[in-house]
Amino acid sequence: MLIIGGGVGGMRAAIDVAEAGLKAYLVEGTPALGGRVAQLGFMFPTHDCVLCRGTSDHGYGCTRPSISPILLDNNLHPNIEVLTSTDVLACDGQAGDFTVRLRRQPQYAKCINCGLCADVCPVERPSGFQMGLTLRKAISKSAPRAVPDSYYLLEKTEACDECRKCVEVCPTAAVNLDAAVTERTIHVGAVILAVGYKPFNPREMQEFGFGRFPNVITSMQYERLASHSGPTEGTVARPSDGRPPKKIAWLQCIGSRDQRAVGAAQVAAPYCSAICCMYATKEAMLAKQRLPDVEAHIFTMDERAFNKEYNAYYTQARDRHGVQYTRCRISEIRQDPATHDLMLRYPSGRMHGEAAPGQGPIVEDRYDMVVLAVGVRPPEQADLLARALGIELNEYGFCQTDKFSPLETSRPGVFVCGAFASPKEIGETIIDASGAAAEAMRLMREKLGRLPSSRQYPFIYGEARLLQETGLLGPERDVTGEKPRVGVFVCGCGGSIADVVNAPQTAAFAAGLPDVVHAEYLPFACFPDGLNHIRRATIDLELNRVVVGACSHRTHESLFQRTAREAGLNPYLTEMVNLREQCAWVHAADPDGATRKAKELVRLGVSRIRPAQAISKEPRAPSRTALVIGGGVSGMTAALAIADSGFDVHLVEKSDALGGNLHHIYYVAEGANPQRLLRDLVNRIIAHERITTHMKSEVVRHAGSVGAFRSVVRARAPGGAVVETEIDHGATVLATGARESSDGRYGLGLDPRVVRQSELEELIAHQPERIVAMKHIAMIQCVRPEGAPDYCSRTCCTNTLKNAIRIKMLNPNCRVTILYKDIITYGFREKFYLEARRRGVLFVRYTDGDRPIVEIPNPKLQISNRKSQIPKTAPQSAIGNQPSAIVVRIHEHVFGQTLELQPDLIALSMSIAPGEDTASLAQALHVPLSTEGFFLEAHLKMRPMDFMEEGIFLAGIAHYPKFIEECISYALAAAGRAITVLSKEPLYIGGVVAIVDQAKCTGCLTCVRSCPFGIPQIRVDFKGVGGLTGAAWIDPARCQGCGTCTAECPAKAIELLNYRDEQIMSGVGRWGVRVEHEL
C-alpha cells in the first residue's frame, strides 16, 4: 500500500492499513510528517492544543489509543515505512499490482537532533513552518517536534553555499552534503492520495495590501502567532511594532466564493473553502480569551457552522465571548501610514443573529490587525501528481471523484482522502482516510493480517508462529521472586545530554544505588550498537530490571522495551529516565544543577523499577464477524466493505426494507441517480454470501468487549411473534441514521400548500405537471420543532437549491423565493447557489429575532415560528374551494422593508433529527449521546468514527446530518476500523490496566462512579471483603488505564499496573533528599 502525503489524513490511513496487517509506505514530499495540522495551534471546536503535531503518543483529548502512537521516531509501526523528502515519479500497472518509482532526497539517518549544525550555519531562510514570520537556518528542523525528529538541508542550490561548517560540527557524522538523491521502485497493491491543500496566497489580491501592510496577516500566520510552538510562544503581537492588538478584524472568503480570476495563473475559486468560517471563529474566540479587552470582529457573508457542535460553538463565540459578526464582504483595506493601523469600510447594522432593523450607513473603522481568512486551493503538486499517477482533476484543480464513490479517483486502485478531493476539515479528512484505507483493504483482502506486527508489546501477533519464522523473540524469562538486579544505562546522546549533564559521573552515582548491579555510560543508547550492548549486558549479567537514562519515554520507551524483550525480559521491567528533554535541554546554563538533577532522576527511576512486576497481555481470538446496525446507505456500504474483505456480517434493519432515507431521495444536485445506487446496494447485499440480513429487527442487548461481543437481536416475525437471536461478533458498526423532523411550524399539517422539502421533491419527481402550473413557490430554511436543539442540518440548503433549480428548469416563469438564515453550500456545492441565483431564484435573509410570518387563510390563524399555536384538530382542507392565498411576511433587512409574498406552495426545510431509537440503542450499547441527541464519538476531530469503547464504530447520519457521499465515506471508515479489529489473530488485551483485589473490595461503588469511561461494575458472582457477596470487576479489555479509580478507591483495593502505589511512592519519597556530591 502506498500512501502519498504525510499529513493527518495520510498518517491515519497508514495506521489503519498497518493495523490491518498490511505493509504501508508513507511518502511525504517535505522533510517531516504532520502537514497543515502540525502548524495549527488549536483545533475548533474542542480547543485541543496541537503542540504534539498530531503525532504525540495519544492523539488528542486524552483518548488513549488514537491516531498517533504509531507515528513516532523509534516507535514507528513496524508495518509502516516512512519516506520523507520523497516524490512520486511514476506509477505503472493496475489495481492490486502497481509499480511506483520514487525519488528521495538525502537523509541524515544518524541525526540525534542536537542542533549544532543549525547553530553554526550562516545562511538564514524564511521558516515555512512559521509561515515566514521567522527565519531559520539553511540546515534546520522544520518544527520543534518534527517527525522524523532530525535536521535536514534545504536544497543545496536554493540556499546552502557549502561552507561545510555543519559537517565539521556534527557529532555523529550524520550530515553529508555530498549524498546523492536516490531513486527507488516499490510494488504496491493500492495507492491512497492524501496530499491535502495549499492555502490561498492573498498577495494575488492587491486590494488587501498583504505583503505591503505589515499588520495584514493570513489566518495561517495568525495560527502560528497563537500557537505555543510559534515564533512568539503564543503571544499575539502586531508585526509592525510588537504591541498586543486591541482590535482585530477577520475578513472571510479571501480566495473563496470568488468568481474573479486572480494571480499569474488567472484562476478563480468560486467554491466555498468550508473551513474558514470555523477557524476564524476559533481564532477570534482564542483572541478574546487571551488578550485582555480585545475587540474581535468577523466580516462574513454566511456563517457556515454546519457540523456537529459547530453551531453551539459559533453562538458561544458571538453571545458569550462577544465576537462581533458583520455580514458583508470587505472590498479593500487601507493603511494609516503613520501608525500602520488599518481602515475598513462597511455597512453598519448588518449584525449576525439579531433582529435586523435594516442596513445602516457606511462606516469606517480602524483596526490594529487584519487577518485574511484565506481559502483552500489545490495542493502545489496536484498537476505533477495527476500526471505521474494518471488521474483526472476536476474543474477547480482538485482530485476528480464521483458522487457515489467519493474516495475513488479516475484510476482504479488509486484512492483519495481529505482536502485533495474537496476542501475539508480535520475530522472529515480522518473519516476519508480510514475510508480510503478500507477501500484498499477490500482490494488487498487476500493479504489482510499477513504482517502481524505491532509497535506495542507483545510486538507481534501470533507470537509463537513468528517466533519460528524469525527467531527474533525467545521465551520470556520468569523473574518472579528473584532479588532485583538492576542495570542502569546512562546515554550521552552524542553530547545532547553529556555536554550539560556529567553522564559518566551520573552512571557512577547510579552504581551505588540499592540493587544496582551494573551501571555504565553509553554515548548513543538508541543506536544499534547501544541497543546490542544493552541486550547483551541484560543477558550476560542476568539483569532483571533495566533503567535507561536518555530521552523522553514518550518517544523511545517502546524501543528499549523491545530491546529488553529481545533479551528475554518482560518489557515492563524497563524504566526510562528523561535526562534530555526534561534535564539537559532545559538546564543548559546550569551544568552542576543539571547533573545533580540527573542523579536524582536516576535514583527515582531505580526506586520505581525495583518493585516493578512483569505485566502480560491476554491473547484473545476475535470473532471474525461484524454486526452492522441499520440498513440504510451507510449500513449497507459498511456491511459490503466488511463482507468483501472476507468477514461475515449480520445486518440488522428495523423496518421491512433496506434503504432507509435513500427511498425518499429521487435526484441529487450533482445529477447522479440515487435510486440506482439504492438498487445496486440492495442487490449486492442480498446476493452476498457473507451477509445475513435481519429485517424488522432490533438490537436489544449488546455485551462483552472488543473481539468478543454478544448481542441479542429481536425480530418481529409475521403474526406478531417475537424471535430473539444471539450473535457473537468481534466488532459493531452503528449506522442507524436519522429522520427529517416534523412539526406544525408555519402551518405544516394545517394547509396542504405547506409541505416539507422532501414532499416537494416527491412532487417534482412524480407530478412535475403541478409544478408547471405554479406561479410562485416559497421555501423557508432552518425550521426546527419547538424545543429542539439549534444546529445546522447541513444538507437542507443544497437540497433546497436542488429543488429550486429543478423548478426553474421545469417552469422558468415560476417565482422561487428562498427565506434563509445562512446559505450552507460548502465546498463545491457553492456552484448550486450560483446556478440558482443565475436562474433567478430570489434569496431573502431572515434572522432568529425576526422570522417570517405565515398566514394561513383557512382557518384565520396567524402562525409564526415563535410560539406554537397549532390547534389539536386539523382544520378543513382548503382544496377544491378555490382557496384564498397564503401570505408570507418577511422583513427584508437590506432595504428595511416588509415583503409580502403570496406563494402557491411553501416548502419547509425541516431539521434532521436523531432517529427515534437512538437513545434506547445508546443505552443498550453503553455509548454516549451529543447535546443534539446524535451518537457521540470518542473525539470530534481525531476519532470521529470510534467510540471510547473499543470495537464499536459509528457511521452515517446517526453521527450528524450528512450528504450521501459523506455517508459512504463514513461507512467505509467505520468498516475499515472494524476490519483492523477483525483481521487480528489474536487480539491482545490488558497491559497497563487497573486490577481489583477483590479480597479488599467493599463494593462501595466509588470506582463505578468515578470511572470516566463507565467500565467498573460490581459483580454478584464475586466475593468481596470478608467473603461478602459483590465485588468490583474492571474489564481489562475495556480499561483505558487512566488510574482514576485507583486514586479514589477508599479501600485501596485497586491498583494500576506499572503505576502501583509502591512504585510511585518509593520514587516520590526520594525527592525530599537532595543528592549531595562534590563537583
Partner: protein
C-alpha cells in the same frame, strides 16, 4: 534562586498526555526553568492520590505542582 539562597524543591505531577508532553516540548524549544523542578509522570492526573502529595511534602518537597 532567591537572594537568601533558598531554592524551593518542587515536585511536578504531570499527566502523560498533556503536561508531560508539554515538558518535553519545553526541552525541544530549549526553554529554561530551575533544576529544582522534577517531573513525575502519571498516566492521567486522575491517578493522583492525595497520599502522593503528602508523601512528597513529608519527604521535604517545598511545593507540589499538579499539571494535567
Amino acid at each position: 534562586m532567591s537572594e537568601n539562597g533558598f531554592e524551593p524543591n518542587i515536585v511536578a505531577f504531570c499527566c502523560h498526555y498533556c503536561a508531560y508532553a508539554a515538558a518535553d516540548l519545553a526541552g525541544s524549544m530549549r526553554l529554561e526553568y530551575p533544576t529544582a523542578v522534577k517531573i513525575v509522570e502519571l498516566p492521567c492526573t486522575g491517578k493522583l492520590d492525595v497520599l502522593y502529595v503528602l508523601r512528597a511534602f513529608e519527604d521535604g518537597a517545598d511545593g507540589v505542582l499538579v499539571a494535567g
